[in-house]
């Protein structure tokens, strides 16, 4: 498969992109609501929600676009998500005071069926399989 048809958008990649898009939508919706209604309650958690939303949006775009630069952007954003869900997930268990309000990443994404934990791993495997070859 050296032709141009071998991209990150092929086959299963489309489903991955759609799931990323949905998570981006979910994170954006939640962060919009949190910031619009009660930002003062938990500025840290809500800023994090907004950051997560941006990361998911960029990751979705990076998966759709072609080329080496977008490939690196996809790795960076998906890697960031994995670090984010692991760090925030761990912190929210050991220091619940820090994250009294929900974010997509608290408790390893339990509020979202652990999709935020599983998705970066699936994404990384996919990116590895679809790595640019020269």
């Amino acid at each position: 498969m050296t032709t141009t048809t071998s991209t990150r958008r092929s086959g299963f990649g489309r489903v991955l992109i759609v799931v990323y898009g949905l998570l981006a939508l979910a994170a954006t919706g939640r962060s919009f609501y949190q910031i619009a209604s009660e930002f003062d309650v938990a500025p840290l958690a809500y800023s994090l929600s907004a950051l997560a939303a941006v990361i998911y949006i960029v990751a979705t775009i990076a998966l759709v676009r072609q080329g080496d630069t977008w490939y690196r952007v996809a790795w960076f954003t998906i890697g960031f998500e994995l670090v984010g869900v692991l760090v925030v997930g761990t912190l929210s268990i050991f220091d619940p005071e820090l994250f009294t309000s929900k974010t997509v990443w608290s408790f390893f994404g339990r509020g979202y069926g652990f999709v935020p934990l599983v998705l970066p791993i699936v994404g990384m495997v996919w990116l590895y399989l679809k790595r640019p070859r020269d």
Partner: protein, 122 residues
């Protein structure tokens, strides 16, 4: 919100979602059945929007945040049309899976909307 209507809607969305995911993984392209089921999920969401707008007039008001409720509902209304559009453009079995994932996402969002309207934990 009308509780039985919402639960019926969740059931339809879950069935439509599972159907499309299974048929998609089995290699079916988007067909009248899976597209129609997704369209039904979309139409029911618009009905839900009408119900939500009219309900307060009949003293049926949300116990939780109205803003949060509508954030979910408006987002959910957008999902089926996008999935159907995608299914028309990209005629592969993966589009059928996408239809299913979209319906399942709507089901989860409806469940959350139901909680916001009726159930307050804090």
């Amino acid at each position: 919100m009308i509780e039985w209507f919402t639960w019926a809607q969740v059931a339809v969305a879950v069935l439509a979602g599972l159907l499309a995911v299974v048929l998609g993984l089995a290699g079916k392209k988007p067909n009248d059945l899976t597209m129609g089921a997704t369209a039904l999920v979309g139409v029911l969401l618009i009905a839900q929007l009408v119900v939500a707008i009219l309900a307060p007039l009949f003293a049926n008001t949300a116990t939780g945040s109205v803003l949060e409720f509508y954030t979910y509902l408006v987002t959910a209304v957008l999902i089926p049309p996008f999935a159907i559009f995608y299914g028309l453009v990209d005629r592969t079995r993966w589009s059928t899976v996408v239809l299913g994932v979209a319906c399942l996402a709507v089901a989860i969002m409806l469940y959350r909307m139901n909680q916001i309207w009726f159930v307050q934990v804090a």
